[in-house]
């Protein structure tokens, strides 16, 4: 009942004001290369996204995920046998996009293609390192399309 009252209060509140259009700039900022960092905290792996072509709405973007460093020999061994799953996700709306394709080039490089952002807005690229069905570690990179 409390939620119900709160929800209807929230509904009434915006009726009290005219909408004010506050547009975001159409010029997307160019991210510095350091902004493409991906860190797998559990395994202590530090990687970087290297775009083959820049991320754009409904263009088939591609990138390489390159591992630049790791904290231990154990992490390296786990990474060598690991597979990578890459999920595109729009957190505000709670939906994703079409499945990406991931190819392991070597133990420290993954090629990711079919990166297809279907609409403008906030997106996440979610990386899941797996050994079979076991999830070893996860990392998320956020970007604005």
């Amino acid at each position: 009942m409390k939620n119900f009252i709160l929800a209807f209060t929230l509904l009434i509140q915006p009726l009290t004001a005219c909408a004010k259009a506050d547009y975001v700039s159409q010029d997307k900022p160019v991210s510095p290369s350091s902004a493409y960092q991906v860190i797998f905290k559990k395994l202590g792996i530090y990687a970087e996204i290297e775009w083959a072509n820049p991320p754009q709405k409904s263009q088939d973007s591609k990138f390489h995920l390159k591992v630049l460093g790791m904290v231990s020999e154990e992490s390296m061994q786990k990474l060598e046998s690991a597979t990578l799953e890459v999920i595109l996700w729009m957190p505000s709306m709670g939906h994703g996009s079409s499945p990406t394709s991931v190819q392991k080039v070597n133990s420290s490089t993954f090629d990711v293609s079919n990166v297809y952002f279907i609409m403008d807005g906030d997106w996440e690229i979610r990386f899941v390192l797996k050994n079979g069905s076991q999830v070893l570690d996860e990392a998320t990179y956020s970007l604005d399309i």
């Binding site: 119900f4 209807f8 004001a17 939906h95 996009s97 609409m119 906030d122």
Partner: protein
Amino acid sequence: MFLFIIGLFLSHNADAASCCSGGTSTTAIITNNDQAQFTASMMFSSVHAQARTDGKWQKLDGDKTREIFTMEGSALLGDRTQISLSAPFQKNSYESSTQNANGSGVGDVKMSFAYEAVTDWDYSKYRPKIYVYSQAQLPTGKSIYETQELEAVDSTGTGLLGLGVGAVAVKTIKKWDYNANIFTQKLFDKSFGAIRIEPGNIYQTSVGVGYNYTAWRFGINNLAYLQDSGKTSGMVDSKISIERYVSSTLLVSYLYEEDLSVTASYSDQTLIGKPVNTQLSRAVFLSLQKHWPR
């Protein structure tokens, strides 16, 4: 004569909605002395901008349009009870300088049961008629969670089962009529592939007023919509933001014959309120309604 037109627009003031699947609407309720009514309607909407979660607006880089054709029937079961069925068909298009995409399909079918809780059989000067109703939404539309198309043009509904309850009050005083509607709907969890969706509840309320002149009615209506935050689990554990907007509608109706009326309206989601996490649309709505008197 005036009141039967109210029943026409109560059902169609939320359709110009939201992100990708058209929001929600409530089915028509007979508020006059008819035995049954049938409505065929067409809505054309265009997305003006995307309201983001931070409240900022973002222009799309192309034109996104939506057409919804809806057939809707309502019939009395008894003196105070009635049922309704609404079946929409939706077509979405997106076109930019470099890309275009189209999608279409059946939307979410809705059924409702209404009970006239407060009657106006003694023609009270001030007491309104109040109807309470329940509504079931069937998951017949294609959900945004299933889409892989550009701008989600293949999404035609929520694709979720929903159960809602609401109340409508209507009152005519001389040449003016007034209406208010509150509605809340529970959407049920559903898995789409490896992702489980736990959607937030929907709350909406609307108020409207109309002026009647001979066979014409001129009305305005404001509808506020809120979908509470939800979450996803499974392949992706994530929180879904709230969605909020206010839709303002201007409408004109004409009673063509005693049993036939036409309505045209314009709805705009960019005028009032602080929209969040939704696509702001402007829509034109045309409908034809046939009545069967008691």
